[in-house]
């Protein structure tokens, strides 16, 4: 707490570094944009795939979703959008949840939810693709 006195040897940058609400630098901001850019073509591709699957029976859906190219696009879409959603929800929590304990709890819930959703979706596609 003596950082603010003129006698401190700490630089102005050193005093503010890691003090943001996330206690990280701009990595989250950058990854949010990176996944946003990736999500544009991936989302369009997934919409195209889903339209092609509409009204088809289970056997046809399994065959198409499990085919190599479709499965790879679906996997890329899921990884990129789940990461994007996790980062986005973290920003929302940090903006609105001010109580430190509740913030911790909701941030943990956000991570657990995102990992569970992501792994479940990835597992489902791999299972369809490998035909187990």
């Amino acid at each position: 707490m003596t950082d603010h006195t003129p006698h401190s040897m700490r630089t102005p940058l050193g005093r503010v570094r890691y003090l943001g609400s996330a206690h990280h630098g701009t990595r989250a901001f950058w990854h949010q944009r990176l996944t946003a850019v990736a999500n544009v073509p991936l989302t369009l591709a997934v919409i195209f795939i889903i339209i092609g699957l509409m009204g088809r029976n289970h056997a046809a859906v399994v065959q198409i979703l499990g085919s190599t190219l479709v499965a790879i696009v679906m996997l890329l879409f899921i990884v990129s959008s789940v990461y994007h959603a996790w980062l986005g929800m973290q920003v929302i929590v940090e903006d609105y949840v001010h109580d430190e304990l509740w913030k911790l709890v909701t941030l943990i819930a956000n991570t657990f939810f995102s990992i569970a959703v992501g792994f479940a979706a990835v597992f489902a596609i791999l299972k369809l693709s490998f035909g187990l």
Partner: protein, 138 residues
């Protein structure tokens, strides 16, 4: 600790919050961007349900297909489609702004109007194509 910290800080005026500003389209769409993002976050459950059902077998998949064809299912899917497209177009607008373009008084307005018209237009287009693929409304 908290008291010591508070007494050392000067009482400074706080910046005014949202309620004092006139609601502008760019601001409303910024809020909608966050709301659609939150909706899509929980909407991921729908995608995962569909994928797990497809991986689980014909019976589980039949349940998903039945739900998606109910009126509630279709409404949720239609809302999901719009939220996805609107969030995508709003995201592209934010990427343009991140690069420093489109901040002029005219550009920022038409960019924002374009995301709204575009999202509604594309959503309807996707559903028309979807129904055509399925061979008409059923």
């Amino acid at each position: 600790m908290a008291e010591a910290k508070a007494s050392r800080l000067k009482q400074r005026p706080l910046s005014p919050h949202l309620q004092i500003y006139k609601p502008l389209l760019t601001m409303m769409m910024s809020i909608v961007h966050r709301i659609t993002g939150g909706a899509l976050y929980f909407g991921m459950l729908l995608l995962v349900w569909w994928l797990i059902a497809a991986a689980a077998g014909p019976n589980a998949y039949a349940v998903v297909q039945w739900f998606m064809e109910t009126l509630l299912g279709r409404l949720i899917l239609f809302g999901y489609t719009w939220a996805l497209i609107h969030h995508m177009l709003g995201g592209i607008k934010h990427l343009i702004w991140d690069l420093g373009y489109g901040f002029g008084p005219v550009e920022r307005e038409w960019l924002t109007v374009a995301t709204l018209i575009g999202s509604v237009g594309f959503t309807i287009l996707i559903w028309i194509v979807g129904y055509l693929v399925m061979g008409g409304i059923r």
